[in-house]
């Protein structure tokens, strides 16, 4: 069970949250101009990092707001939590020895 700190509600169990996958994936500005390959890239391809990974979570049984988390996908250590209107924090090479 992960322990995640909602920026508004504080630390809560993982079961209060809903996972939203990779963060910082902007909708294409002109979707009609994309090739099929570029559209596939937007719809189906996401980073699958082994190590620190910026991802979205929603506090779905609490305040119902979305926010971003940087989590190490090997150790599950939560390295940063930040709101959607905040930039991704610059972290030193977190997560240790990999």
């Amino acid at each position: 069970m992960l322990l995640i700190t909602c920026p508004w509600c504080g630390p809560r169990d993982e079961t209060e949250y809903h996972y939203g996958g990779q963060a910082h994936v902007p909708h294409p500005e002109n979707p009609a101009e994309l090739t099929d390959e570029q559209w596939a890239e937007y719809v189906f391809y996401r980073d699958n990092a082994k190590g620190p990974f910026a991802e979205r979570w929603s506090h779905s049984t609490g305040c119902r707001r979305w926010f971003n988390v940087v989590r190490d996908t090997v150790t599950n250590e939560v390295l940063a939590v930040y709101r959607l209107d905040e930039p991704r924090p610059q972290l030193p090479q977190a997560g240790g020895t990999r």
Binding site: M1, L2, D13, E14, T15, H18, Y19, G21, D36, E37, W39, A40, E41, V43, F44, Y45, R46, N48, A49, K50, F53, E55, R71, T73, V74, T75, N76
Partner: protein, 406 residues
Amino acid sequence: MTAEPLPEHPDFLWRNPEPRSSYDVIIVGAGGHGLATAYYLAKNHGITNVAVLEKGWLAGGNMARNTTIIRSNYLWDESAAIYEHALKLWERLPEELDYDFLFSQRGVLNLAHTLQDVREGVRRANANRLNGVDAEWLEPDEIAKVCPIVNVSSNTRYPVLGGTFQPRAGIAKHDHVAWALARRADELGVDLIQGCEVTGFLKDGDRVVGVDTNRGRIHAGRVGLAAAGHSSVLAERAGIRLPVQSHPLQALVSELHEPVHPTVVMSNHVHVYVSQAHKGELVMGAGVDSYNGYGQRGSFHVIEQQMAAAVELFPIFARAHVLRTWGGIVDVTPDASPIIGTTPVENLYVNCGWGTGGFKATPAAGWTFAHTLATGEPHPLNAPFALERFSTGALIDEHGAAAVAH
């Protein structure tokens, strides 16, 4: 007191050779799929100058962590074709490999608990029969005959309204499957090299010509990736992206019990699947943990939920105990179907994206991936499972349609 001398070590099932400087084909990953690929490269195509490189030990990843269920009752034609091909290969492999890995065709029940489940199950059973897959729809009283310990009373939160049954489905002893394939591949001349991690890819222009490993540089005519949860990590080293996400998938076993469970029961709706291993432990699994993870472990609430589901379905399990839980890393595609075929890099091929269902497909994954590596072209069975389908839109959407807890 005099100690008995230790008995002689039994014969090893395969050699542990040093890597040579060059091979016709290198397969990355000595799990079930990598070993089956090597076996069929040698057997079907006569290609024996082959190395299987494994960063850990042979069959120590998902091949050691799955719940051993084998079935072919998938909805779509493309899926039914490849999984049924696998099931037919399973039926002859014990004799072909001269190794009894306890393949037991005890059937698989997929239970329905809602009207939507019933409609989906009836449709899938009909689709299966049109594809030559044995499947039938059972009413609750018929389910009670197949598996008397399932609670089919109406006095439950999610009553059993019926289910599909595939009699030829079943289970096999996963470790022994790997060892059987490894022994025969080794006999045919394949080098199985453990403790050998691929750290990079040698390229000549846009063509792969070998790999760098922690045990030196190895040249290769063709390279095939069969690395399951770590496919993305290897693809990145080769300079390509794959549309997969790696998730933890957990399973558990109880202590040993007398034989009480004659078949395999899966329930997508209450989210658990259960069989009883030959030795007697109850083996259970459920869906993936929601988040991405490479740590080979998941969250405990997932275990708690599948236990609750199991006890609801099987009241007799209420006094059983969880002996051990574990997790593997499964690579899941957007349409929950695998990717087997070419990549944008010449001479680099990929077999990945099997998600939660790779074990049952082991022989067919090996059969089709070996064909692809040997000829440079997909076999008709894996042609629909190309990477290109994500840009052409020809997806094979098995999410929720394949009676599997994804």
